[in-house]
């Protein structure tokens, strides 16, 4: 890495404004191309760190959301008219659940509408995932006011111990498997894991203690995150994408204001 890492808040503003623009545009094609572009940025810019995986996780999660959304859309809901693809058996519901139907004819319109919603949601989640994989949570916490710093340090410990727990759990499960356990029970992994993470946490606490943590009331910051042209450029790129939704909102409201004869919604 030759450049200094960009300010984490800049990444979040950039991704956030892209997400707003996408939600407003409601266009699948646009979302796909933006997520594609963001994926390229992530692969170019993210570092070899535990949180860099969050974009991949967000994509997987998005995929699940699409699947669940389509499944729910097909089985439950108000009947929509259109070309029926196939018909599911209808489930009889109690009389007080008026207007809800489970099963029945599945129309092409219904499937495409739910898929569209699912993909839009997935795109927004992917953008947020991109922001978190591009910015270190530790750095983000450093930009947070000093008042909540204590809270921040607790989060730092949690974020550094948690990945270790995941790796230890895998290691222990493998060791047990090699011992000849076919079914590794919860207890057999939990006990060594608990001991392992407890001793790690004690080590960490001892290390922080002997490095003077909590001894001085005030803390200074080494290399505070600074705002430079590069950060502003990044934010500007995000904000430009907001122009279209902003303009459409403004034109809609001014049209309403300029036409007093019409009824307001």
């Amino acid at each position: 890495m030759t450049h200094r890492a960009l300010h984490p808040l800049a990444w979040w503003i950039w991704a956030g404004s892209l997400a707003i623009a996408l939600a407003k545009s409601n266009s699948l094609l646009l979302s796909a191309s933006v997520v594609g572009a963001v994926a390229i940025v992530v692969s170019k810019k993210s570092e070899n760190a535990p949180w860099a995986q969050s974009f991949r996780w967000a994509l997987t999660m998005g995929l699940w959301i699409v699947i669940i959304r389509i499944f729910v859309g097909i089985t439950i809901g108000v009947p929509t008219y259109g070309r029926a693809i196939f018909t599911l058996p209808v489930l009889t519901l109690p009389t007080w659940m008026v207007g809800i139907r489970v099963g029945g004819p599945v129309t092409f319109e219904r499937v495409s509408a739910t898929a569209h919603e699912g993909f839009m949601l997935a795109a927004i989640i992917a953008l947020l995932g991109a922001a978190s994989s591009l910015s270190s949570p530790h750095r983000l916490l450093r930009s947070i006011p000093i008042m909540v710093y204590e809270f921040g340090v607790a989060v730092v410990i949690a974020t550094s111990v948690l990945p270790q727990i995941v790796t230890s759990a895998g290691r222990i499960r493998q060791a047990q498997e090699l011992r000849g356990q076919t079914s590794t029970s919860w207890r057999r992994i939990a006990l060594p894991l608990l001991e392992d993470s407890l001793s790690r946490s004690l080590d960490l606490a001892a290390a922080m203690d002997s490095r003077g943590y909590g001894f001085s009331r005030k803390r200074s910051r080494y290399r505070p995150n600074s705002w430079t042209q590069r950060e502003f450029l990044l934010i500007a790129l995000g904000v430009i994408s907001l122009i279209y939704p902003l303009v459409s909102v403004v034109t809609a409201t001014s049209a309403l204001l300029l036409a007093p004869g019409q009824e307001r919604p």
């Binding site: 011992r179 000849g180 001991e195 001892a206 003077g212 803390r219 290399r223």
Partner: protein, 532 residues
């Protein structure tokens, strides 16, 4: 600089004193080694210096400890952070930040130092420990030696007067260990830093230290010059064992001194071949051909072909990250190869399950406690008997033959490192596997535990098992292995008899070999046998 005055220590819920009436003074700029067998209280002694014991652990402390005139009785560890830097046994557990630079700055931030001061000091310490290229790296991606250097840097940046290190080289390969120790020596000489270190592998540190504190067990400790202490101490590195065995009047501590003293011996002796134990009844148990394997996204093993026979003890060596663990995992079947073939006892190890797996390959992981989950030694043994379908008591019998006088009611966590390894080995052996794999077994073992491990491995190999050990410990390899596989960057760079491989690389040569070169002797026993 450091004064211990009649210090005794006892931990809560314990009736045994860890240290008893210990008094000594360490002056400024001294390099002091704390030695003793496992569980003798080395770590406690080190942690007493900055008050982690008893402030952090509890316990009763009698007597007084003064560091630069400050008593640790009244001041908590945090209040001494500008005076004492402490580096724990496993530095990875103590890291707070995710980047090298921020980790180094953490201690100064907590003391509210001005940003300009911090910048200057970080630069200094990055240069001092040659970390400048790594400043932006995420700590999790560093090698063991680099992590150790970062831990030392974050202690040094506070400009302490005392640096305390608990087994800083136990997880490192010989080259990385050498690097860390020479940095410490430079700090002592250039900055007048007082360094206190504990270490099991005495052969690595003995030439650097000024004085030794030897904890002899039962709380008794003596302090003195290396010559005085090592003349009669129960634990001794190979170089001292050789001096003693040859009945030399004075003990030499460096290879250079020892080579001078043994000039005549080397001249008069005839190089005799090491007896090679080729067993005729040996059969091939492991065959690997053209194995390629990945670890994450990195190619960890590339085009590996080898074969291992029964009765054979093979050591797998190489730098951290050379692919040793991946090779062991491929043989034991937890890692699927990308291409190529692994066959263990003519079976595919990835398909083995349950008892069949336990009966063919026994695997001792780097952390033996990963295998254990019982609430007592007895419970653990009973469970192993049940799992493997052997007669009740079998595992406990194996255990008592390995580690005598082990109390069956004790919790596995409360055992010493050596005892815990013994328990893990007996659990694995109870299923009578044909192949035994050990990953870094001597970490944290003292010489006594190591020598009982060595004799155990020899017996097991004589019974017809094949044993594979991944290790950094050249002295262990010299004692026990018949053959060495040397890995670098996922490829086998050397595969041959122990003598040939160890002698061809100066960094990996054991102490006795360095002294006796060009004679092909690796251990004290080799020398003695040739003498007779």
């Amino acid at each position: 600089m450091i004064t211990f005055a009649n210090v005794s220590l006892i931990y809560p819920h314990s009736i045994k004193t860890v240290l008893e009436d210990l008094s000594f003074t360490v002056t400024e700029g001294e390099f002091v080694l704390v030695m003793g067998s496992t569980g003798s209280g080395k770590s406690s002694l080190l942690r007493l210096i900055n008050g982690l014991v008893p402030h952090h652990t509890g316990g009763i402390l009698a007597g007084d400890i003064l560091v630069d005139g400050i008593s640790t009785r009244n001041v908590k560890p945090g209040g001494l952070s500008h005076l004492i830097g402490i580096v724990g046994q496993n530095p990875l557990n103590g890291f707070v930040a995710d980047r090298v630079e921020e980790e180094i700055a953490f201690g100064m931030e907590t003391l509210n130092m001005a940003p300009e001061v911090m910048r200057k000091r970080v630069e200094e310490v990055l240069d001092l420990l040659s970390l400048a290229d790594l400043r932006d790296r995420s700590i999790a991606t560093l090698s063991g030696g680099e992590q150790q250097r970062v831990a030392i840097a974050s202690a040094l940046v506070m400009h302490p007067k005392v640096l305390v290190l608990d087994e800083p080289t136990s997880a490192l390969d010989p080259i990385a260990a050498e690097e860390v120790l020479s940095i410490l020596q430079r700090l002592v000489h250039d900055l007048g830093l007082t360094v206190i270190i504990s270490e099991h592998r005495l052969e690595r540190v003995i030439q650097f230290v000024d004085r030794i504190i030897n904890i002899e067990g039962d709380g008794i400790a003596v302090i003195g010059s290396p010559q005085e202490i090592l003349k009669h101490s129960a634990i001794a590195p190979p170089i001292v064992q050789l001096s003693r065995a040859l009945k030399m009047p004075a003990i030499s501590l460096t290879v250079r001194e020892m080579r001078r003293a043994t000039q005549d011996l080397r001249g008069s002796s005839i190089a005799r071949e090491r007896e090679s134990l080729v067993n005729t009844s040996a059969e091939e148990v492991i065959r690997i051909s053209k194995l390629r394997s990945v670890y994450g996204t990195k190619v960890a093993l590339n085009d590996i072909s080898l074969s291992v026979k029964s009765h054979e003890i093979v050591a797998v060596m190489g730098r951290n990250g050379a692919g040793k663990s991946t090779l062991l995992r491929s043989i034991s079947g937890i890692q699927k190869p990308l291409s190529g073939e692994v066959s263990v006892l003519k079976m595919d190890p990835t398909r083995l399950k349950g008892r069949e797996r336990a009966a063919s390959v026994g695997y001792i992981p780097q952390e033996p406690s990963d295998l254990l989950y019982g609430q007592s030694v007895e419970g653990e043994c009973r469970q192993a008997d049940k799992d493997n379908g052997v007669a009740p008591g079998t595992t406990y019998e194996i255990l008592t033959s390995l580690v005598p006088n082990i109390s069956p009611s004790v919790h596995p966590r409360d055992l010493s490192e050596g005892q815990r390894l013994g328990l893990a080995i007996s659990v694995v052996l109870s299923s009578n596997p044909k192949i035994l794999i050990l990953d870094e077994p001597t970490r944290g073992l003292d010489y006594a535990a190591k020598s009982s491990l060595i004799s155990l491995l020899k017996t097991l190999a004589n019974d017809g098992r094949a044993i594979i050990i991944a290790t950094h410990d050249v002295e262990l390899v010299a004692e026990v292995a018949q053959r060495i596989l040397f890995l670098a960057d996922g490829e086998i760079v050397a595969d041959g008899p122990t003598v040939d491989v160890l002698l061809s690389s100066p960094a990996f040569a054991p102490q006795v070999a360095k002294i006796m070169a060009p004679l092909p002797w690796l251990t004290v026993n080799d020398v003695l046998k040739s003498e007779l």
